[in-house]
Symmetry: C2
Subunit: 409 residues, 2 copies
């Protein structure tokens, strides 16, 4: 299941960037499961990675290789992504396997091994099927191209339980030049990113110094991938990469940065929302908007408490206007000296809660009508400060249980 119809957008070509994929048969036959993305030598690059302490071998290797390149004021040239196996919880063997994958692509491309960053997604705790990967890597490298469908093919090649590829693209004007930002992402379960989503890859043709690029990635991640949750489970393999090829307009002045940041934020939010819309078993796309908080963290705490509540999520699935569950979830959020009599809760245009109880204007008919919608905004005004936060999530359906009970079979 997935919410709404979200076609893959047209993605403009970016000079110097080519993408290739292969069907390596890592977990299943006849599906793209290995992707190579090539970036030009002129690029700058930044990444954000999972904070899960059990982070996967490829995350360790990607961070190390990125660090080695940055020390030499260079950027890695290749992103190598496999699906079907996360290479997480695989100990020393996993580290060796991740490095061997990088070496195989580095050999084919004639670059040093640290120019390759590896990313893996799929089942945790099983060794990578190295024979399949070592066959597939040269094939994916040779297959790279920059035709109109290159990004969509790569978007397909990184999926696991996702039902559709996820892309976003925008063109913004920086001075008299046009800057393109293209991104793809994957993720459908184990989604409560903490620094980044399961996997996201964003490329622009702008020219941006590395420290600024890293700052922009952190800022926009905090208001996109770090604001979504499907099931509260943070993955071992989360990573989001941003590269600027440097072929196009310079982004350096305050004005240029502001324009670019807005464009990048839109791409990041579109990708993050696409992940939620394709959440495992999702039948609803839910926006949690918390206002009137004393701090952004307080607003986020309330939003995530409601977003993670299995009782709120099952009521959303049933289209049952059981708003008492929203009230109960707000009430257990970690808010100091919380005066619930000031709280207002609304579902779209229907007020549910005011003065500590059901709103005077509320009717079951109005509540049921709103709950029947496929896209719903739950607005919670704490009325105790000026800070706010927005978080996106899904419902909890029978299909979520089925997908995750049957995942390995």
């Amino acid at each position: 299941m997935a919410v709404g119809n979200v076609p893959f957008p047209a993605m403009p070509r970016i000079e110097g960037v080519s993408l290739g994929s292969a069907m390596a048969g890592i977990k299943k036959a006849d599906r793209r499961d290995l992707v190579v993305i090539e970036l030009p030598e002129t690029a700058t690059m930044a990444g954000v990675f999972t904070l899960n302490a059990f982070c996967a071998a490829p995350v360790h290797v990607a961070k190390a290789h990125l660090g080695q390149c940055l020390e030499k004021h260079q950027a890695p040239r290749y992103w190598l992504i496999n699906t079907g196996n996360a290479n997480a919880g695989t100990g020393e063997q996993g580290m060796e396997d991740a490095k061997r994958c990088c070496a195989a692509l580095a050999d084919a491309a004639g670059v040093p091994v640290e120019s390759v960053l590896p990313f893996s997604t799929g089942v945790i705790g099983e060794p990578l099927p190295m024979d399949k990967l070592l066959d597939g890597i040269p094939a994916a490298f040779s297959a790279r191209h920059d035709h109109a469908d290159a990004w969509e093919q790569a978007g397909e090649g990184i999926l696991t339980t996702d039902t559709r590829p996820k892309g976003a693209s925008i063109v913004v004007d920086i001075g008299d030049q046009q800057v393109t930002i293209n991104g793809i992402a994957k993720g459908s379960g184990m989604i409560r990113p903490n620094m980044a989503t399961m996997l996201g890859f964003v490329v622009t043709d702008a020219r941006i110094e590395q420290p600024l690029l890293a700052q922009l990635l952190r800022e926009t991640t905090d208001r996109s991938f770090n604001c979504i949750t499907i099931d509260s489970d943070t993955s071992t393999n989360d990573a989001c990469m941003l590269a600027a090829t440097g072929e196009g307009a310079v982004v350096a002045s305050q004005d240029e940065i502001a324009i670019f940041r807005n464009g990048l934020q839109r791409v990041m939010i579109e990708l993050a929302q696409a992940i939620v819309r394709d959440g495992e078993g999702a039948t609803k796309f839910v926006t949690l908007q918390v206002e009137g908080a004393r701090s952004r963290q307080e607003a986020l705490d309330v939003a995530f408490t409601v977003a993670h509540s299995p009782l709120v999520k099952t009521a959303l699935y049933a289209s049952d206007a059981n708003w008492g569950r929203i009230l109960a979830a707000v009430g257990r959020a970690p808010v100091e000296a919380f005066d619930v009599n000031r709280v207002v809760i609304e579902l779209d245009e229907v007020r549910l809660v005011e003065q500590g109880g059901r709103a005077a204007s509320y009717t079951e008919e109005a509540g049921s009508a709103v709950m029947a919608r496929e896209e719903i905004t739950i607005r919670i005004d704490l009325d105790r400060g000026g800070e706010s936060a927005t978080v996106w999530t899904t419902d909890l359906s029978h299909d979520y249980v089925s997908i995750n009970a049957d995942y390995r079979s």
Copy 2:
């Protein structure tokens, strides 16, 4: 569904304590939904209540009435419990309704209104059907008795989505006297108590001063009801009450307190575990045992992170030894400077994880055999300190989603 066969135990009579119930038709016809528990004038009493900021009207009233009695060095005489309606999120009207229920019982019993503590459980946000309650209260009062089945009938009268009544009883020797501790509890969903379970009522015939009784209740709650979770949702109506009738042995010396505390702890843990075994849709009873933590809070944080993980819970439901999900959940727990290479994870006698990855001795066959069991212990040794914690939880099944999607229909 429910895990195992847990018959209601034989519960000895406690002098001065009688229990009555009625079928008031609050939500459904022909089921006990209203319970009165009478305590003698000699009793002392303590209670712990939900920390949910949106706590229900009866919780406010029960705390106030208990406080008024304690100020006069007395204890309330009656616990009045209704199921089918939580009287939460009901604002001022809810407060008035809760007080009117107390007044109705106080009238029938000829006691002051503050001698009655009200407790409600059921759907949130709907007004109490006062006509039914005002009819039922005198009926439940008149029906009270102290026969052998009195506790079981009361246990039935407080259920909501529970599939069976939950009781626990123990007799301990204090000096040359025998002390009885009887308890009943209810709860099946919205279970992640924060001070107490949905509803628990425990009575002993010991003689215990009120401050000591309150301390014993807090201590034993922290290692019983505060260590269970079904779906991470803390109720608006949680309360656990403990009364000591004072008819029997005095509990005052260190030795007497130690013996009594052990007995009380066993009753509380048995009730808490009974709630988990009857968790909504539960097919597994899972013990999370975290050792080697730097603090008890750290051990609890790790245990609850794993216990709340929808991915761990769906894998348990499927009896799928997808241990990578346990590893991923441990990895996202809020532990400072976490060295995952020291972590050991075991399922019953099967070691899953050591040195950052799959244990050398692990086989899929052994993992699958353990996961097929109905009762499973997940042991997590952090190897960084001497503190530990034990938490009990269930799996996440299709039935959990069905029960909660259909709850109001």
